[in-house]
Symmetry: C2
């Protein structure tokens, strides 16, 4: 299994790598495009994903379990057939959503009892159940079921929770091994990534990382960051836990982040990212450009016959003007969302392409210094 991921090159802590999967390869550092309910919000289909250079689609286990139901998706041949996306798909475990969306949860050693945010129905999610759902969805990578503790959190609770998450991880591993041998399983080569927890306490994080490293998983995620703490704290935690993540495995920082967060994290040894920010910001008219961020709703854009970013090759920039996009947002036309999301996701995927090229050409530090200040500016 360890042959799945290859580090091609390093630059300090930063790594240039490649993950081989049954659904194709993922060049790292890489960004996963979030399709919560098996569709990118804003009207992009899986066919559009190819045109924005998406490498991995990320779908949400919790949402798909509720609607349409993972049994239905299994009957329909799995997420790939359902969405028509043929590349790698990562499914989260539902853990994060249980703790952020669901009502009245009750945690026990066995799992979590909670009420659906859609119809109020009682649901009991366990590590085994989460893996069963993800196996039904037939994603390329399944994530272990964890508890995501909000920051700040009392150390005693963070410790108790992190230890339970390790026990849950062992159950996830047994379950995926069982299911990957089951005749009815669609993707018998489903990978499992473990998740490091421990809130902002470096000693807990390290202790947790050491334990999960022994389980020899296909990849390691750092979860429970970017959930309330300052960015500097996040960087500090990554720096501290990084030496304990197996060098030969892919490292995924969950739910992060801004272009600067991403550069700083790659500099500290992270390979894989996902974030709703580019698509969510786009839906709120906030667009990324190589010169900084802009709000297309600003009045000055109403008469500008130029693309959002003249240096961008996305469908939106190649075809439409700021004035047209401004108009579509003003009229609340759905097309506004689509064109904006296409641009922001293309921007993110292209940003990662540039990062990889800078690592390939030994110019990563130069790239980092050059981009770090520009990308925070408002234009």
């Amino acid at each position: 299994m360890s042959l799945m991921f290859k580090v091609l090159k390093t630059f300090g802590m930063a790594r240039r790598g490649i993950l081989e999967t049954v659904h194709g390869k993922v060049e790292t550092p890489g960004f996963m495009n979030v399709a919560t309910c098996a569709a990118i919000k804003g009207g992009l289909s899986s066919l559009d994903l190819r045109n924005i250079n998406c490498q991995v689609m990320l779908c949400n286990t919790y949402h798909l379990h509720l609607r349409p139901g993972d049994e239905i998706i299994k009957k329909l041949g799995g997420l790939h057939k359902f969405t028509r996306w043929t590349g790698p798909i990562l499914t989260d475990s539902g853990g994060f959503q249980v703790f952020s969306l669901a009502k009245l949860r009750k945690i026990s050693e066995e799992g979590v009892e909670f009420y659906s945010h859609v119809d109020g129905k009682k649901i009991f999610l366990t590590p085994e159940k989460s893996i069963q759902i993800q196996s039904n969805l037939a994603s390329t990578v399944a994530m272990a079921f964890d508890e995501c503790v909000k920051n700040p959190s009392p150390k005693s609770y963070a410790e108790k929770s992190a230890k339970r998450t390790v026990r849950w991880l062992k159950r996830c591993k047994l379950e995926i091994e069982r299911l990957n041998k089951d005749d009815s399983t669609i993707n018998k080569k489903q990978l499992l990534f473990g998740i490091n927890q421990g809130s902002t306490f470096c000693d807990l994080r390290i202790e947790n990382m050491k334990k999960i490293a022994q389980l020899c998983l296909d990849g390691y995620a750092i979860g429970g960051l970017a959930v309330g703490e300052r960015a500097e704290v996040m960087y500090y935690v990554i720096e501290n836990v990084e030496p304990y993540i197996p060098k030969d495995k892919i490292r995924y920082l969950m739910g992060v982040g801004t272009p600067v967060n991403i550069l700083e994290s790659i500099l500290r040894g992270i390979d894989l990212f996902d974030c709703v920010m580019p698509s969510r910001n786009a839906r709120h008219a906030k667009l990324f450009t190589n010169g900084g961020t802009l709000n297309i709703l600003n009045a000055k854009n109403s008469i500008l016959d130029e693309s959002i970013d003249e240096s961008c090759n996305c469908h939106t920039c190649k075809n439409f003007s700021k004035a047209y996009l401004h108009h579509l947002f003003k009229c609340k036309e759905v097309l506004a969302l689509r064109l904006a999301v296409i641009h922001n996701l293309y921007f993110y995927n292209n940003f990662f392409k540039e990062i990889r090229a800078s690592l390939d050409n030994n110019r990563f530090l130069e790239f980092y210094r050059q981009k770090k200040n520009i990308l925070c500016q408002k234009v």
Copy 2:
């Protein structure tokens, strides 16, 4: 100017024709795809229009005058440059919207005073002003400014209104002739279609049609139908007024209608149509198929791994299943709207293609009889 439209073939009253414009030709019978605010609702861009075999895009003068403003669109090079649609564009005159959307209107010989439905601002629209706006938008075809009377309407009012609409039409004609000679005009070959009014009173309709026929316009529309009366009344009015429409000019039935309305109207000599129904129905999960209409939200669709219409070649049917579309509608994903609108508009444009082929092959009556019953069914 009369060479612009050619009748290639007739079949009873039904006609197979072609309209040549500066922005390309329009094969008739033809359907215009409604892009009210310079975008098809549901997230389709002008580039998508090509893939759904759209011949003509229809934009709304009233909406675009309010937002972004026709002066801005003129500065940006006209609607074609603004939207990136290169084919023919028809703009309505704003008349219909003034009478259906605006508040507190006051009609005089000079024009109509009303309050914007967007920001409550007072606006005074005259025949000249409507043509000036449409000239700024630089559409291929401008529509005359008319009053659209709701049905039923007192005959005395319908008569008074229809007569005023003729006087307004003469002013429209003078204004477009003036503007088409103006140096600053973007499209100096903008066409003008007159609009027949007279509510459901055939004598008024005929009198009105005779008068406007003398003005030798580029095309003739029948307005003020499908606004409250039964379909049979509409067909009866068309039958009565048709003999008085110049044979060598294109005939446009405004705002109509269902596939059956369209077949019946073509049978009575209509060449051109527009309707929001295919896109609006799509946004409400109601889809047209060659076997009848279906509501994709019906539970039975949740597990069907088949296209909406197996005989359809649209992007949606070629790629996605009923189950996926059902799921997207259930989750209120914007992608649901896009895929449904693509299908319904493709269906309509393809339906017209089939009608034209049936006329070309002398099978129109057969086609009419075959489709008439099927298309009303619910599947």
